[in-house]
């Protein structure tokens, strides 16, 4: 009962924030709505028994990545975006095609996937830091090491790119 209420509340928060992200003209308003989406997704992860991932979501996404976004918006003084001409195809077919995508995905989820269990909070807690760490440092050791090199390259790339002169 409580999981249903929590799911509905946070799903609505996520969807409303997602719409707000797409519809707002100010980049800072979009950024704040994205924080709303990420926070409610963290709660949904907790409901699904992924404790470690919920915390990582709050710290990495809600903290680090969004601070980066807000900092860049502040640094560039990004104001209201100018609306410019859209192609006739996008104006006519954009929204119907998007609704088709959602309807198709919903249909596939309903029709093709086998019947799945329902989510009961606390019935399975598989995502504690212990479990994640165990799998990360045994089965997924090589991807873990590769991704640390990726992070290193990204740091170097960001430093080099941010002071590059084009043309």
């Amino acid at each position: 009962m409580v999981d249903t209420i929590l799911f509905i509340i946070f799903a609505i928060v996520a969807i409303v924030s997602g719409f707000n992200l797409v519809l707002q003209k100010q980049p800072i308003a979009s950024a704040l709505s994205l924080i709303g989406v990420m926070g409610s997704l963290a709660v949904l992860y907790l409901l699904l028994g992924a404790e470690f991932l919920a915390m990582a979501q709050m710290i990495v996404y809600g903290g680090a990545v969004m601070v980066l976004f807000v900092l860049v918006i502040m640094l560039l003084n990004a104001g209201r975006e100018k609306s410019s001409a859209k192609s006739w195809f996008a104006q006519i077919a954009g929204l119907p095609l998007l609704l088709c995508l959602v309807a198709l995905l919903g249909f596939l989820i309903r029709a093709i996937l086998p019947p799945m269990r329902s989510v009961e909070f606390g019935s399975w807690v598989g995502g504690t830091a212990e479990h994640i760490g165990q799998l990360l440092f045994t089965t997924y050791l090589l991807p873990f090491e590769v991704i640390s090199i990726l992070i290193l390259i990204a740091i170097l790339g960001a430093v080099v790119l941010a002071q590059k002169e084009l043309d």
Partner: protein, 102 residues
């Protein structure tokens, strides 16, 4: 009014993904387009975690963790690129950065 079916989570993930696609295609500010990409990555993460719950295996959560790390790296590099574009071109509108257009 018992428990939440897992397919609701997947439908929520599909809706968020479609919103990300809409933002990516329709918005004209580079920063907002970039935020839409982050929204799509988050939506996919949600379905990874949902399937991980269904299968009672935490491999899905590990993939989701890797997606998160790649998204953080991508955000750092992408925002550096946005800074460079703004410094050199003086604009954040995506259709004013069109030197590769024929």
């Amino acid at each position: 009014m018992g428990h939440v079916p897992l397919s609701w989570y997947l439908v929520l993930s599909a809706i968020l993904f479609a919103l990300g696609v809409a933002g990516f295609v329709y918005r004209k500010s580079i920063i907002t387009v970039f935020m839409s990409i982050e929204l799509m990555l988050n939506a996919v993460n949600l379905s990874f975690v949902a399937f991980s719950y269904e299968l009672r295996r935490i491999d899905g959560q590990i993939f989701s963790f890797f997606v998160m790390v790649v998204a953080a790296a991508e955000a750092a590099v992408g925002l550096a690129i946005i800074l460079t574009i703004f410094k050199n071109r003086g604009t954040l509108q995506i259709d004013e950065v069109d030197s590769m257009k024929l």
